[in-house]
Amino acid sequence: MFDSFTFQAISMPAILLVFITSILLLLGRDWRWLIVALSLQYVGVFLLVMLSWPLEMAVVKVLTGWMAGAVLGVGVAIVPTSWKAEESSWPSGRWFKLLAAGLVTLVVVSSAPAIASWLPGVGLEIVLGSLILIGNGLLNLGLTNHPFRVTIGLLTLLAGFEILYAALQVSALVAGLLAGVNLSLALVGAFLILVPSMEAVD
């Protein structure tokens, strides 16, 4: 079914999707919406990875991303108070974050062609999608101390890297290990959210 489908045609919508979702992950205030945005972001990642990998391998990305989102969501749902503290301090820097995201986008758009020229055989659309996620992931990491947001930032950063790396390496073991890293990251993120409210034991 997919043989006749031109994957290149979906690259622009996929780039738009990862761009919008990564901005939402930066600005969003409700953790539930953040999980939804993360899940949608992995759909974009899946579409971009599919430009380089066969469908059955690319689908691992979206499944892993959704599972990571679910694990993180469960972590916050168990201790909703951990998120309330974050929420109260959140709105103040919204415009600043939007401006910073705009600057990151400018840097990404201007540097993508040069980076694409370094990587033979990697299309500009892959580099662009990848750098958008890496840039906004790094921005997210630089602006927060909350384990939930830090984990989301790291997952975004890794997702960006995975898009680019998929174009360079096609390997089942790499796909499996990267899925393992993403899931471990989500588990650690959930543990970080839970640990302050856990009972101390000897």
């Binding site: 370094w118 990491l141 101390n145 384990p147 830090v150 930032g153 790291l154 950063l157 890794l158 890297f161 790396y165 360079l168 390496q169 390997s171 089942a172 073991l173 790499v174 499996g176 290990l177 990267l178 393992g180 890293v181 471990s184 990251l185 588990l187 650690v188 543990f191 970080l192 640990v195 302050p196 409210s197 856990m198 009972e199 101390a200 034991v201 000897d202």
Partner: protein, 464 residues
């Protein structure tokens, strides 16, 4: 049966089992110690790739294990290294129960060891970065104290180590290109630059070192010293793998210059940082930075990579004794800043002596375990560059000043307060053995040096 199954799969499966059984704390610690001792013993006596005859039975431990078409490979040359790794784990697990280092230490520590061994065994080398990242993530719960607010250090630890992984993966891909066209200088420079940056993140090299003292301040001292000794050392071994594999990297003089420069900066940062701290945990963190610097200095001396291996034993011993002594204070609910530690030497003289002597040993104080190795290292560094040796010495003086300052704080107190040993007998026994080992290793370095140097056999191009 094959070697990767024995030294990766068995500890990996055991780690999961012990994690599920962690409710029975004492039993899991005991099982962890027995298993790591057994694996160290097997690494010592069991030849890989040769037919072994025991009575009527014959069997062979193969070198390779294939997963999804990729090979995990451990050979005879790796056995001394495996012995060192599992002895190190057994050493730390041995006192974990007494130190009350948390239920996560043994199961997850075992998983970290298995993952790092997998990182050293996997071929091609690029996959190792993914195992290192997983080991980092698995080590996080070891550092967390349930019920305690999350510190910023642990988040920085996860962030910086995770950022390091993509750099290494990219480098490996670029290095494949370099191998096919070694004359492409631009490609070589890019690959070397990205590789260096990746290891700066992974090894917490300046300016990415800030999380080390922060984590050491917030976490249980015994658990934190396990992670901060084992992880950087094994990541460093992973880095040595690159030097061993790529001739253009190994034969480039500038690579060694850069390693020494990074080493000097780390030693200075660690030493000066330690000298100005007022919190024992942070001092321990800066001492870790200083020791990472010495490892880099050792690696920066061409043809003398064995130095980085012999540093391990005195370092592990000193940090083991130091963190165990700190664990006693931690378990007593004692705050670790100088203000709250005044006069504790009168109540806990053995704990105090252990903390101070361990720092002296790391500095390279005569008669203690660190002295013979540091002496050789300073000598070798001075032969390369006088100012680098001078700065390395200055870093050590910084830690020495910190140890003296701690000593003054510990023994200063009201004159009417009598000196009295109040430590528990278990701690007295373990710290006594540790202190004796620090002294014996300093007096008879020939007892442990040869077996440590043989660890370098795993890197055939770097072995003496």
């Amino acid at each position: 049966m094959n070697a990767p199954q024995v030294w990766i799969l068995i500890p990996g499966i055991s780690a999961i089992t012990l994690f599920l059984l962690r409710r029975w704390y004492r039993s899991t610690v005991l099982a962890g110690v027995i298993l790591t001792c057994l694996l160290a013993l097997l690494a010592r006596v069991l030849p890989i790739g040769k037919i072994i005859e025991i009575g009527p039975w014959t069997f062979q431990v193969d070198e390779s294990f294939f997963v999804l078409g990729r090979r995990f490979f451990l050979e005879n040359g790796d056995r001394p290294l495996l012995t060192m790794v599992y002895i190190l784990a057994a050493f730390w697990f041995g006192a974990a129960y007494i130190a009350r280092a948390g239920r996560m230490l043994v199961p997850l520590g075992l998983a970290v060891v298995a993952l790092m061994t997998a990182a050293l065994a996997v071929e091609p080398l690029l996959y190792a970065a993914l195992f290192v990242e997983m080991a980092v993530l698995v080590s996080v719960p070891i550092l967390l104290v349930p019920g305690k607010p999350l510190g910023r250090g642990i988040l920085r630890f996860i962030i910086l180590e995770t950022i390091g992984m993509p750099f290494i993966l990219f480098t490996e891909w670029m290095l494949t290109g370099v191998e096919t066209s070694p004359g492409d200088i631009t490609m070589v420079m890019r690959a070397a630059g990205i590789l260096g940056l990746g290891f700066m993140f992974l090894l917490a090299i300046l300016p990415f070192h800030t999380w080390v003292p922060m984590v050491a301040e917030d976490s249980h001292p015994y658990a934190v010293s396990f992670v901060l000794i084992l992880l950087p050392w094994m990541i460093f071994l992973f880095g040595l793998g690159f030097l061993d594999r790529y001739t253009w990297l190994r034969s480039n003089e500038q690579v060694y210059e850069l390693l020494r420069l990074a080493g000097v900066l780390m030693v200075l940062t660690g030493g000066i940082g330690a000298a100005f701290q007022r919190h024992l945990g942070r001092i321990l963190g800066f001492a870790v930075i200083l020791e990472t610097g010495f490892t880099l200095l050792g690696a920066g001396i061409q043809g003398e990579a064995w130095l980085t291996f012999v540093l391990l034993f005195p370092r592990a011993l000193a940090f083991g004794v130091w963190s165990l002594a700190m664990a006693y204070l931690w378990n007593q609910g004692q705050k670790m800043d100088y203000q709250n530690l005044q006069g504790i030497g009168r109540r806990m003289p053995v704990v105090t002596a252990a903390m101070v002597l361990a720092q002296f040993s790391l500095v390279g104080f005569p008669l203690l375990a660190g002295f013979p190795i540091k002496l050789v290292l300073w000598d070798q560094v001075a032969a390369q560059s006088g100012w680098q040796a001078l700065f390395a010495l200055l870093g050590s003086i910084g830690l020495f000043a910190s140890a003296l300052r701690s000593l003054v704080v510990f023994v200063t107190g009201p004159d009417d307060h009598p000196w009295k040993i109040t430590e528990s007998w278990q701690f007295l026994l373990l710290l006594g053995v540790g202190l004796a080992a620090l002294l014996l290793a300093g007096l008879f370095p020939q007892l442990f040096l040869p077996s440590l140097i043989s660890g370098l056999n795993a890197f055939s191009h770097l072995a003496p």
